[in-house]
Assembly symmetry: C2
């Protein structure tokens, strides 16, 4: 196959990266087959050809795209006859806003909630890389960044309160059917689901029910991530 997605992996081939989930779901939504090539934090040589240092990277024939947002835009432009990720330019504009909200607000809330769980999900070499690079980024030990998990969890749930309010009123974030806005938030939840026994979405809430529907999409693609036992 000439379409390959380079996808972050942890120990036991655990695909936990939210940014890679975005691209995986975007490809499924566009009904495009893809081969996923696992790539650990310390296997950056595998993606050196892309000119970047982070996954996801998509190689589609002769075209190489870095960055989940650019991949979504590329797929939307290149395959206009397939189901739309954005539903038009207004939806694309607002999806980018949601993308930046996820990057700047939701992901930091989740990473602080499950930081030690992420560390625990990596191979020993990746653990060393992760500790060094993240402690440099945050300016303190991982354990200090993580802090009180219960408090972090409360913040993450509060961050998702508007999403829950929306889903009490409509079936999907993108309205009548799932689209890229749904994938952005679901991908962040897949990250936590993959690495941590912590339950971010509480049973019985609108966002929980939506998350279950999301897990069922594309023949249960998201369920390849099994909930982690506490």
């Amino acid at each position: 196959m000439s379409r390959i997605l380079y996808d972050l992996t942890g120990a036991h081939d655990l695909r936990f990266s939210p940014n890679c989930w975005r691209s995986r779901l975007a490809l499924a939504h566009k009904e495009l087959e893809v081969e996923c090539e696992p790539c650990r934090f310390t296997e950056k040589d595998k993606i050196a050809f892309s000119g970047g240092k982070t996954v996801p990277v998509l190689r589609d024939g002769d075209t190489v795209i870095n960055d989940s947002w650019d991949i979504a835009c590329y797929l939307e432009e290149t395959y206009p006859g397939n189901p739309s990720l954005f539903g038009g330019p207004v939806g694309k504009g607002m999806a980018n806003h949601l993308n930046w909200w996820a990057n700047a607000v939701l992901h930091p809330a989740i990473v602080q909630t499950v930081l030690i769980d992420i560390y625990d999900s990596l191979t020993p070499e990746d653990q060393a890389y992760f500790r060094e690079s993240r402690e440099k980024r945050f300016g303190k030990p991982l354990e200090d960044v993580a802090g009180d998990q219960e408090a972090r969890l409360a913040t993450t749930r509060q961050t998702l309160a508007p999403t829950n309010l929306t889903l009490e009123r409509q079936k999907w974030i993108c309205g009548d059917a799932p689209a890229y806005g749904d994938y952005l938030i679901f991908s962040a939840l897949q990250w936590a689901r993959a690495v941590s026994p912590v339950t971010i979405v509480e049973t019985g809430t609108a966002i929980y029910n939506w998350n279950e529907r999301m897990l069922d999409l594309f023949e249960g693609l998201g369920r390849m991530i099994e909930p982690k036992a506490a």
Copy 2:
């Protein structure tokens, strides 16, 4: 004219309500003329006919609609030939998500930043109503809710960080042209602009430049709110 928007007003006919601004801008976007009927907090008798107790209320011929979101949906459905507020169902779904984010996150951040300024912008009778109803809602004196304005302002700016990141990459929140997603965030900023000398968006930032473009729309409609002198 048979189209009337009941619009919250303060002392000196100051139109500061973010929810009313949403409807005002939605009507302008749909190129629909409207008469705005000012309505103070203590003039609820003026909107009793609507069955609700809050503005905006739109009377369009024989149809009466409460709530800014329902007004936007009504306008989009009733005038499909006029410029679209949502750009289709995906855009509408994501606009509702942004609507709930504004209601649950952005408005609370702004109200805490400019709470005393709002109080100061009301007529004496409305001040009494506002203090009583808001102190009941918050469970403490207005002055305690407001707290440290500098700290509140920092929180509000942080809340808008994803919007600024987006606007560093695209001209409008809704992409190539303004639509309802832009009005949602601009309306919240109009609220602060109307009542407070505090500057939420800092000169030279992408969100500041966008806000200036927003103020220019519809023959400078937003500029009827003059910046408040410090």
